[in-house]
């Protein structure tokens, strides 16, 4: 993932419009779906919608911070699967659920720490590392549970996972979600830690020279990602009251798609959490509405995959068109050694 210096120059103005745009599109999607798709606008369906988007939203929070620092974590779905399998195995061995849940979250943190160590301790590219751990953690998950499923979790716990707050339609998970979103928003947008996350992504060298321990920061972000994945693993298992090795298989695509859709740059350095939350809601309501409209799940993966590409392609195209218009106004001779002096301009031109 090479940094694209040309693009960051245009950032501030475009950032705001992209964020606002996503929010508008999200609201429009929900309104249109409520009008056009039967059962979409019911409170019952909104309850399911929240349950469906909970894992994506929770995983998207640390993923946003990681992508803003210019790294990536493709192993999140596998960490969810592994903690889910672990939960099943421990339950089969008679460990009480009160012990299992913190253990799973802790194991998630350890899995994240492994990623973090490989990326920051050994200096390996995060893309390759997390493709490796994507396979490794999913593999270990199958080693633990094989093709079997553990489904006999106690009713009161599984009921909590799908239950609602009091008489309202809001599921219980809303409470931890709101709490975690609040914590992440405050940390990223209102603390020095958040500023250093942006600094590390925008220019790691400059960040290091300004006294930011970039490596340590990234390490703890990976630990956070693992911890949240552990939480999601527990939630996923209780929600479907089923621990399976292939739980959440492929979810990393949806998470990355939602984050990029929310206006986070894959090159690091920019993006906001409100945008990401809007991106998650947009993706989840789109999937929910299409499913209600009897569109096949295959079409859903096509839509998700396309959105992922478009969310990176669209800003690139607009900036290319802009710079093309800019060049037309002030034409340059095509073959000059100017390139040597201003590599930035050369980049945009291509």
């Amino acid at each position: 993932m090479s940094a694209e210096p040309a693009r960051t120059r245009l950032s501030l103005g475009r950032l705001a419009t992209w964020d606002v745009g996503v929010v508008i599109v999200t609201v429009l999607t929900i309104v249109v779906a409520a009008g056009a798709v039967e059962h979409f606008g019911t409170t019952r369906n909104f309850g399911f919608l929240v349950l469906d988007l909970a894992p994506i939203l929770l995983l998207a929070l640390p993923m946003t911070l990681i992508i803003v620092t210019g790294e990536i974590d493709l192993s999140v779905a596998s960490m969810v699967g592994l903690t889910s399998s672990l939960m099943g195995v421990l339950w089969n061995n008679g460990v009480p659920l009160e012990t299992i849940m913190p253990v799973c979250v802790l194991v998630g943190a350890v899995l994240g720490a492994v990623n973090g160590f490989l990326v920051t301790g050994l200096g390996l590219p995060s893309l390759a590392v997390t493709i490796g751990t994507l396979a490794l953690y999913r593999g270990l998950s199958f080693v633990l549970l094989g093709n079997t499923a553990v489904a006999d979790f106690p009713r009161d716990h599984t009921a909590w996972a799908i239950g609602s707050i009091g008489e309202s339609w809001l599921p219980n998970v809303v409470i931890p979600i709101v709490a975690l979103v609040a914590v992440f928003v405050v940390v990223l947008h209102a603390t020095p830690i958040g500023r250093s996350v942006y600094a590390a992504g925008a220019n790691p060298t400059a960040a290091a020279f300004s006294g930011i321990a970039v490596g340590r920061l990234k390490f703890w972000l990976y630990v956070t990602s693992g911890t949240v994945a552990g939480l999601v693993g527990v939630f996923w298992t209780l929600r479907f009251s089923s621990a399976r090795a292939d739980n959440a298989d492929g979810l990393e695509l949806t998470v990355v798609a939602a984050v990029l859709l929310g206006g986070v740059s894959i090159f690091g350095g920019r993006g906001t959490l409100p945008g990401v939350v809007a991106g998650v809601v947009l993706l989840a309501s789109l999937q929910n509405a299409l499913r209600l409209a009897d569109v096949s799940t295959e079409a859903l993966t096509v839509v998700t995959g396309s959105l992922l590409i478009v969310s990176v392609l669209a800003p690139n195209l607009t900036s290319a068109i802009r710079s093309a218009a800019h060049r037309r106004r002030r034409p340059r001779p095509p073959d000059e050694p100017m390139h040597l002096l201003s590599p930035k301009r050369e980049r945009t031109a291509s």
Binding site: S2, R138, F142, S296, I309, N316, E346
Partner: protein, 346 residues
């Protein structure tokens, strides 16, 4: 103009220490061969039938398709890219070829095979355009198309599948046929490895890929048409995955929409284990081929050694990490010793 490319390459090599790096790479290939020999020896001592003709043929057949995809992936990774969509492209091409042959049984199968390859190349062209001209990082683009292409196959198949009985006899015979005891599919794989190896080693287009991966800016200044090269690389990777799909259909006969699911991880593992640097610019297709062979042998050795088949995926993941960690350590060592040499000279 043709003079420009080799110097650019030499330059980038002297920077990293050409002879030393070559030595390291050769060391990697030697190491892979040793690991292979050791693994085969251990497995054979556990069960002598592991070296039986049938078992060897199984390994060669299973390696054949990974070889093709590993060639494409090597080219892509050399340019600092990645192609995660190969498994889905293989599935699309396999299902397309099989459907075509089952609906038009009179069609000669090589024609259907060409259609499969073209289908793969078209998928690759989508990747290439988005990556080279849309400036979308290869990871994002191919992660997206991994799901898009797979979704299209599922959509197309709609739960149905093509059975071996629906396919022409001569196509299936080709899939299981042998020349002097060696399966045709493996021969095709080896042929592709040799062709791609020659291309990467001796032709301008191939050297350009190393130049792009070493330093895109330097390559551009040296006059490499980067966008065109990138497009070509992804089309090539797609076409090879398409060919892989045709061979998959010929070998298994029964093709459903899930053909080749998750294969991309094995291919990335083969390439990385084979010493192709994930940072781009270094590695050979021969190393990748050895990596593919090693992975298949591990896969086939697991049941013989009495290890649960479920370990296979975990081992793939561990190998990827071990390989890039090893590369990193070697690079740090080489860099340090070069610096020492430089300071001595200076």
């Amino acid at each position: 103009m043709s003079l420009l490319s080799p110097p650019a390459e030499e330059q980038s090599q002297t920077r990293t220490g050409s002879s030393r790096l070559d030595a390291v790479l050769r060391f990697r290939e030697l190491g892979l061969v040793l690991a292979l020999v050791a693994l085969v020896a251990v497995t054979t001592s556990a069960n002598s039938r592991f070296l039986s003709q049938q078992s060897i043929r199984d390994v060669l057949l299973a390696t054949a398709i990974t070889l093709l995809l590993a060639c494409g992936m090597t080219m892509v990774v050399l340019t600092k890219g990645i192609d995660l969509s190969v498994g889905s492209v293989l599935g699309l091409s396999a299902f397309g070829t099989a459907t075509l042959l089952s609906e038009y049984p009179s069609l000669p199968w090589p024609v259907a095979g060409l259609v499969g390859v073209a289908l793969g190349a078209a998928c690759g062209a989508v990747n290439g355009v988005v990556i080279a001209y849309g400036r979308v990082p290869a990871l994002v683009a191919t992660l997206g198309t991994l799901y898009v292409f797979r979704g299209i196959v599922y959509f197309w198949a709609g739960g149905s599948r093509v059975n071996a009985g629906d396919l022409p006899r001569d196509f299936l015979d080709f899939g299981t046929g042998r020349l002097l005891g060696v399966p045709y599919l493996f021969l095709i794989g080896v042929l592709v490895v040799l062709v791609v190896g020659q291309y990467l080693g001796r032709y301008r287009g191939g050297r350009d890929l190393y130049a792009i991966g070493s330093s895109e800016d330097a390559a551009r200044l040296a006059g490499v048409a980067i966008n065109r090269r990138l497009l070509q690389v992804y089309v090539a990777s797609g076409a090879l995955a398409g060919l892989g799909g045709v061979l998959h259909a010929a070998r298994y006969g029964t093709v459903d929409a899930s053909a080749g699911s998750g294969l991309e991880l094995n291919v990335v593992a083969a390439v990385v284990v084979g010493g192709v640097a994930i940072f781009g610019g270094s590695g050979t297709v021969y190393g990748a081929a050895l990596g593919a062979l090693l992975l298949t042998v591990i896969n086939n050795a697991l049941p013989v050694l009495g290890i649960d088949q479920f370990w296979q995926r975990a081992i793939v993941g561990a190998l990827i990490i071990a390989a890039i960690a090893l590369d990193r350590l070697v690079a740090v060592r080489v860099g340090r010793s070069l610096r020492r040499k430089d300071s001595h000279v200076g």
